[in-house]
Amino acid sequence: MTAMVIDNLHKRYVDRYTGEEIVAIGDVSFSVHEGEFVSILGPSGCGKTTVLNIVAGFIEKTRGTVTVGGTEVTAPGPDRGVVFQSHALFPWKTVLGNVTFGLRMKGMDKARREQAGRDVLELVGLSGFERKYPHELSGGMQQRLGVARVLVNEPAVMLMDEPFASIDAQTRRKLQQDLTALFELRRPTVFFVTHDIEEAVFLSDRVVVLSGRPSTVRDIVEVPLPRPRNWHAAVESTDFRTTVTRIESLLSGEEAHVGDGS
């Protein structure tokens, strides 16, 4: 089953300062299957976040179609949960309040949504923090909450916009590991934006590699790593290394100094 289809997506806008027209996305097509983890990777400024924002319904496309679960995307909706780089947690809501927000919008009664919230908090390792406010959590914990808040709504596709980019390197490894475990357990459909090649390969089933602006799909790379995955095994596997190298060459064939993938 296909969860999400992007077909001939094109995005143009006029720069506010210079007045010149900029083509952010040239022509992008790919699809994501149900229960699949797909990353999108490309040189910085190539418009990968723009793709995600269009899928989320935050910005309008110029041409092309985006369908999620069979219906075309026109506005933001709960079928596409977004995990933001900046976490975007509500500072005025407790951890439990944040995680049950979507369920409350659905009109679920208090007892049920709090139970569901507690369950998912346990899943991401945030049990016992229900009554805390976001600013009282560490960056890593905040992003766990960001993931939990989306996961609990069981969206058709989970959109993740460089979710670990602002987190320190060690915590990031741990979060990637935990996200993989979570994915393998729950099998949500994930569309993941990143500029970190190793992260993309480790997490994904397939990696969509974009060219520089105006972006087109350079290639879609299958990741041959078996699941369950873990970092120790991954870094030692030749499949991991060859896939990373292949994506690196795809990106560097494009332009100089890409893939500052740290």
């Binding site: 989320a56 319904g57 935050f58 506005a75 933001p76 909706g77 709960p78 596409r80 949960g81 977004v82 933001f84 900046s86 975007a88 947690l89 509500f90 500072p91 005025w92 927000f101 979507g102 919008m105 659905k106 406010y133 976001p134 600013h135 009282e136 808040r149 989306v150 709504n153 959109l159």
Partner: protein, 265 residues
């Protein structure tokens, strides 16, 4: 030494402590007789004036007049200013058509409205209330607009992508997100409203602390003028400590959001 340090670190001592030497200095100056008595009243005289006015019932009744006026003004001010602020903050056309005018109305210092208001309503309570409402509405409206502007886009997007309707986004995101700026708008507005009240009471002159002070000045009763100023100061302190600060502590600070700069434009 340790105990002394702990005593000095206590918040009550830290806040009120500095007033002790000031009162002492005040007493010394009055006592020394350097300053002419008709221009300067010592703490003792002011205190007995206080007791006297309380006993006569003048002070309690004036005080309650002033506080009631302020409360009316603030109440109406909030009722008008907050919805107006959200309207202007959220609606593009409302903003386009009103923004410069709002700035201009804010610029016409509130006191300047007093003469025309007196023409309309005479020397009455309505005139005073009108001016206070005016002083509070504009800083508050501008504060709410600033608050709406600084709600991060991502929070709105997050709420929308979790299925919140526009109205729910307003209630759950825009309103709490703009609270820091709204709180500082209320602070600024109250600061002006407070001054407007005093000025209006002096000029309209029927009752209230401002009237009391100016009336005392007319008959040359320095002690009463001093007393009025002290009462005004204490009242503001109480308002700040009992209403504004706890409100901010329970919301903005609890949520880890930064308190906003007082904006005055």
């Amino acid at each position: 030494m340790r105990i002394a340090a702990r005593v000095f670190a206590h918040p009550v001592v830290r806040t009120l402590g500095p007033f002790v030497p000031v009162v002492l200095l005040w007493w010394l100056i009055a006592r020394s007789g350097i300053v002419n008595e008709s221009f300067f009243a010592g703490p003792g005289v002011v205190w007995s004036e206080f007791i006297d006015l309380v006993r006569k019932g003048i002070l309690p009744s004036y005080l309650s007049d002033s506080v009631t006026r302020l409360a009316y003004g603030v109440g109406f001010g909030l009722l008008l200013g907050i919805p107006l602020g959200f309207l202007v903050g959220l609606n593009r056309w409302a903003r386009r058509l009103t923004w410069p005018v709002l700035i201009f109305f804010q610029a016409i210092a509130d006191i300047a409205w007093l003469p025309i208001v007196i023409v309309w309503f005479g020397f009455s309570l309505t005139a005073v209330t009108f001016v206070i409402v005016y002083t509070i509405v504009f800083p508050l409206t501008l504060g709410v607009v600033a608050g709406v502007d600084q709600v991060p886009d991502e929070l709105v997007r997050a709420a929308r992508s979790m299925g919140a309707s526009r109205f729910r986004v307003f209630l759950e995101v825009i309103v709490p997100g703009s609270l820091p700026a709204v709180a500082s708008g209320i602070r600024t507005g109250l600061g002006y409203g407070w001054r407007a009240l005093i000025a209006a009471e002096i000029i309209v002159g029927t009752s209230g602390i401002g009237f009391m002070m100016f009336d005392a000045r007319r008959v040359g009763d320095v002690a009463e003028v001093f007393l009025g100023m002290i009462i005004l100061g204490i009242l503001w302190y109480a308002l700040d400590a009992l209403v504004l600060a706890p409100f901010e502590q329970a919301t903005v600070e609890r949520w880890g959001m930064v308190r906003q700069v007082e904006t005055t434009r």
